[in-house]
């Protein structure tokens, strides 16, 4: 089978919203979750009926909810992305050291981040392209440590078609051996014992094509499910 073109890929791949939806299906009721700024924040919208996660933000809030209506913002009540939020019943405020004690101390069930690259040993690069400019790290290097599950949401390949799941990261690392699961636009991949283990893939893509778009071997150690997300 011939290699897929970027155009073919664009037709079949999941949207960011669909990737976020898929990640949301793995979050248990009552889980404590930190969603990275940007794309991962979409996960909150897709919590399955009957489940409610408790969301943590690094700047000292546990149990926050949706954004307020425009004009209703209170700029003392923001999330790590500096966007206005609201509170749910049972929320709590705390200072930054206590907030990162929750993170580093392993109290979060899930942290979900974006990625430039993920290596098969779980190394993550998501904070710097290494191309100069003003470096900025925020809480990314903390969030990859301590959460029981560190999940990544990402397109399977870059805009140029280069693999983002790689044998070894070439970009500056955020953390070593920290990623446990990757939700991509084409597949769900676990990191186990230094290998990528394929859990689900889009039904329309062949194993060969998926492997060709992946920078390290995709192993299996059980059935590979169909990755199916609703239209969103």
């Amino acid at each position: 089978m011939s290699k897929m073109t970027m155009e073919q890929l664009a037709e079949i791949k999941l949207s960011n919203a669909q990737i976020a939806w898929r990640a949301a299906q793995d979050i248990e009721d009552g889980a404590y979750v930190n969603l990275g700024i940007g794309f991962p924040e979409m996960v909150a919208k897709f919590q399955p009926e009957g489940r409610e996660a408790i969301f943590h933000t690094e700047n000292g809030v546990l149990g926050f909810g949706e954004a307020p209506a425009a004009g209703e913002e209170d700029w003392d009540l923001i999330n790590a992305g500096k966007k206005a939020i609201t509170l749910k019943p049972g929320s709590a405020f705390f200072h930054h050291a206590d907030s990162f004690a929750m993170v580093r101390g392993g109290h979060l069930d899930v942290a979900i981040l974006g990625a430039y690259q993920v290596a098969e040993n779980g190394d993550l690069a998501n904070w710097s392209t290494g191309r100069g400019g003003v470096p900025a790290v925020g809480g990314a290097m903390d969030l990859v440590h301590g959460a029981k599950r560190v999940a990544v949401l990402t397109d399977h390949v870059t805009k140029k078609g280069d693999p983002k799941l790689v044998a070894s990261c070439t970009m500056p690392l955020t953390g070593v051996g920290c990623v446990t699961r990757i939700y991509t636009s084409l597949a769900v991949v676990d990191v186990e014992a230094g290998r990528f283990v394929l859990r689900e893939k889009l039904p329309v893509i062949t194993m060969e094509n998926l492997q060709a778009l992946t920078g390290a071997e995709l192993t299996t150690n059980g059935p590979v499910g169909d990755l199916i997300a609703p239209d969103l």
Partner: protein
């Protein structure tokens, strides 16, 4: 999500023999007497217990020790008005003691909860309690390296609690309780009053629910000091 547990017995039922158990309180203030008594009733033994003290009289931690359930005690001050239970067992070699300066004990527990495996402190440098520990100089001053302290369980006492495990404390009964809540795999809180979600102002939550696994209501908790004045003995 509802972390409430109906009975004290149910709250401590999972604690196995050999478990490490942090128990909140400083002397009697903040000591979860009812949870400790439930732990005695549960029969768990060979426990490693972390508490600032070693019990007083024949109730609470002293009773747990008297019932020979504690293999090792990690504490700063194993003395009290009536420390006979611990003293006799210690001098008879029937209980192991790890003596830790009080501030170091608090900081080790905080480090356990905060994912800090080790830190340096000036406390105990040059004393016999620093024997065998790594030391280092920073800015020309000597410090001792101390390790985090974690436990399988924490038994703590709070004043208000809600179904998500948010807690607030009463006066100096706060002491070690919020720290221990962060450093155990499973934290069990007895609370004097359960309030609806939002019943503790988010600004006034001292222990956010993320650190708490079980909440059990004990409406009028006993005070160790009052029990001892009444010469109570448990069981």
């Amino acid at each position: 999500m509802d972390k409430q547990v109906a009975t004290l017995a149910e709250a401590v039922a999972g604690i196995p023999d050999g478990a490490s158990v942090m128990i909140g309180g400083f002397g009697g203030s903040g000591a979860p007497i009812e949870l400790i008594h439930a732990l005695i009733d549960s029969g768990a033994r060979d426990l490693t217990v972390v508490n600032n003290n070693a019990g007083n009289g024949h109730v609470g931690l002293a009773a747990l020790i008297e019932q020979k359930r504690v293999k090792k005690l990690i504490c700063s001050f194993p003395r009290s008005a009536d420390p006979r239970v611990f003293t006799e067992m210690y001098l008879a070699g029937e209980i192991e003691l790890e003596l830790v300066p009080q501030g170091t004990l608090a900081e080790r527990i905080r480090a356990g909860g905060a994912g800090i495996p080790a830190f340096y402190t000036p406390t105990s440098y040059g004393t016999e309690l620093a024997a065998g520990k790594p030391t280092a100089e920073f800015d020309g001053k000597p410090y001792v390296q101390e390790r985090w302290l974690k436990a399988d369980y924490a038994l703590i006492k709070a004043e208000l609690g809600d179904a998500m495990g948010n807690l607030s404390y009463r006066m100096a009964a706060r002491n070690f309780n919020p720290l221990m809540a962060t450093a155990a795999t499973h934290t069990i809180a007895q609370v004097s009053r359960v309030v609806p979600l939002g019943g503790i102002d988010p600004e006034q939550v001292v222990t956010p629910g993320i650190f708490v696994n079980s909440v059990v209501a004990v409406a009028e908790p006993a005070q160790e000091e009052a029990l001892n004045r009444a010469e109570a003995v448990y069981p």
